[in-house]
């Protein structure tokens, strides 16, 4: 019974993975046979200033987006862990950014950040703060900032709702005991909530790092890596080189460059997630 799905995954995940490594060792224009070139593609990446810019972009993007999602998500979870009316409806609404197809919501963000017609810039102009207002996606720093904000917008619900589920497993008796021992609200947060929430925070963060690090959709829709490669991530740069430039081998080598940093995270996490006997 277990053989068909395993064979399916080996054929469509295992084989492409190996084939990708093979491609990265070839000079392989699209629709033409490749020639084996050894590590030449990786050497070329190493000497490509854009490659290093992409690496830096990816780390900046991942770091800031993850930290903001973690802090914001924890805040959201704490706020929602109180008793209030319509809690379930609020929770359903909060998750919307995570449910709605990313490309479609990003289209709304793109228009929200349009240099001429952004409502943010309309307010800036109308209150005489700035005229014509910043070009959100045209300036390299602002473009990266915008991407991070949209990524946080999309990922925050995942953090919030998962951490909320984590909070709800903490027994109220622990808080009562801490209160009796004279702990303040802050003490209870630091000494009861955080330590017990740590495993959940860890897993959510690992997930988020992996998928932020390998993000494609947001950048592809919002900036296409521009202006001047300032927002290219590994995934979008590999896409441009392989699909736009037709250099499958080079593209594969760029995509594979994601592997060493990701592999460390993935291995650590797979070990952690190994099913515990319950």
């Amino acid at each position: 019974m277990i053989i068909p799905p395993v064979a399916f995954l080996l054929a469509l995940v295992g084989y492409p993975f190996i084939y990708g490594i093979w491609l990265s060792l070839e000079n392989r224009p699209v629709a033409r046979p490749g020639t084996f070139v050894g590590l030449a593609n990786f050497v070329a990446d190493f000497h490509d200033p854009v490659f290093w810019q992409v690496a830096q972009n990816t780390f900046v993007y991942t770091f800031f987006a993850t930290v903001l999602k973690m802090v914001g998500g924890l805040g959201l979870a704490l706020v929602m862990n109180q008793d209030f009316k319509y809690k379930n409806s609020v929770r359903a609404l909060v998750l919307l950014p995570f449910i709605v197809p990313t490309v479609l919501s990003t289209i709304a963000w793109m228009w929200l950040l349009d240099p001429a017609f952004s409502p943010i810039n309309w307010f800036l102009r109308n209150f005489n703060i700035a005229n014509p207002g910043p070009s959100w996606l045209g300036n390299s720093y602002l473009a990266m900032l915008s991407l991070i904000i949209v990524n946080v917008w999309r990922g925050l619900p995942f953090y919030g709702i998962t951490l909320l589920a984590g909070l709800q497993t903490i027994s109220p008796e622990l808080y009562e005991a801490a209160t009796i021992d004279g702990a303040s609200t802050w003490d209870r947060f630091i000494y009861v909530t955080l330590p017990l929430l740590k495993p959940v925070i860890f897993i959510v963060t690992m997930f988020s790092i992996i998928f932020t690090f390998a993000d494609f959709q947001l950048v592809y829709v919002l900036t296409r890596g521009g202006p001047a490669n300032a927002t290219h991530l590994f995934a979008t740069y590999a896409f441009d080189v392989a699909m736009g430039g037709g250099q499958l081998g080079m593209g594969a080598s760029i995509a594979l460059a994601m592997l060493p940093p990701l592999a460390l995270i993935i291995i650590a996490m797979s070990l952690y997630m190994k099913p515990t006997k319950s």
Partner: protein, 282 residues
């Protein structure tokens, strides 16, 4: 952090203000989507007027979207692909999860490690070799291409979630059925799987939304308008060079989001259960 018995002030400060801020941040882009899709072009491209309200709402963009583009075809493709890949993923996910949860055999630790690792392999690592493989199989520009590749993203997740669910079902009922003379397969289909319906709904709804959301494979494999899905169709055909059809784009974004949101709203609890299953050990 329970709210102690306090006045309305404390509740306002601790609950309603932060919650309100979160909600505005969360929902504003959707509001913007809706407002924009209803604006006539004269308001859409007017920098003077206040942009957050519609003065003369029009359905023109929706009508244009439905009559002048292949939006309905894309919607049907998206739906079909999501349903087929969800079904494949649930079946294969069960075939993986049941043995791993209920039987002892050599290699099971390796397979469950493999499933977890596959779950975490991001798409961008695979899309270039996959594009080449799909082309050489002659599957370019067919829905089969995405129906085959989406399950690779969904099966590991489904298997993982179902495995946890299967383990939580006590085995006494199955033991009783076996003692009464049922075969292993009879026990599985008549006794065990029906008990796991909530697990299937969770995995299914999660897989379905993920499949609706997928973009990279669809972008690469589907380049003809009649096989495109909504996200790819919108990006590829409502943006012509530097010209963005903003009204239609927003109408497409909204109409493309509504089916997912409706289906999701019926199964929020199951969705949340699926979402948190990986991270929160019950």
């Amino acid at each position: 952090m329970m709210v102690e018995r306090g006045g309305f002030r404390i509740k306002l400060l601790r609950l309603w203000l932060p919650l309100g801020a979160f909600m505005i941040f969360t929902l504003f882009p959707f509001y913007w989507m809706a407002v924009t899709s209803l604006k006539p072009n004269s308001e859409l491209y007017n920098r003077k007027i206040m942009p957050l309200i519609v003065y003369h709402p029009t359905m023109k963009h929706y009508v244009d979207l439905l009559t002048e583009t292949n939006f309905l075809v894309w919607t049907w493709n998206t739906f079909l692909v999501a349903v087929v890949s969800t079904v494949i993923s649930l079946v294969f996910g069960t075939m993986l999860a049941y043995p791993l949860a209920r039987m002892k055999f050599s290699g099971s630790a390796l397979i469950s490690f493999g499933v977890a690792a596959t779950y975490l392999v991001p798409q961008p690592l695979l899309f270039i070799p996959l594009a080449d493989i799909i082309t050489s199989l002659g599957l370019g520009d067919t829905l089969t291409a995405v129906m085959l590749t989406y399950p690779t993203l969904l099966i590991p997740f489904c298997a993982w979630l179902l495995m946890g669910y299967f383990r939580s079902v006590p085995s006494e009922l199955e033991d009783a059925a076996r003692i009464d003379g049922a075969t292993r397969l009879q026990t599985m289909f008549k006794v065990f799987l029906p008990l796991c319906t909530p697990g299937f709904i969770s995995a299914g709804i999660f897989a379905f939304t993920l499949a609706q959301n997928e973009f990279l494979y669809a972008l690469i494999f589907l380049t003809q308008t009649d096989v495109r899905t909504v996200p790819v169709g919108a990006i590829a055909e409502l943006v012509k060079g530097d010209v963005f059809y903003w009204g239609q784009l927003m109408a497409a974004a909204l109409l493309g989001s509504v089916p997912v949101a409706i289906i999701y709203s019926f199964f929020v609890e199951h969705y949340v259960a699926g979402l948190t299953a990986g991270a929160v050990k019950q």
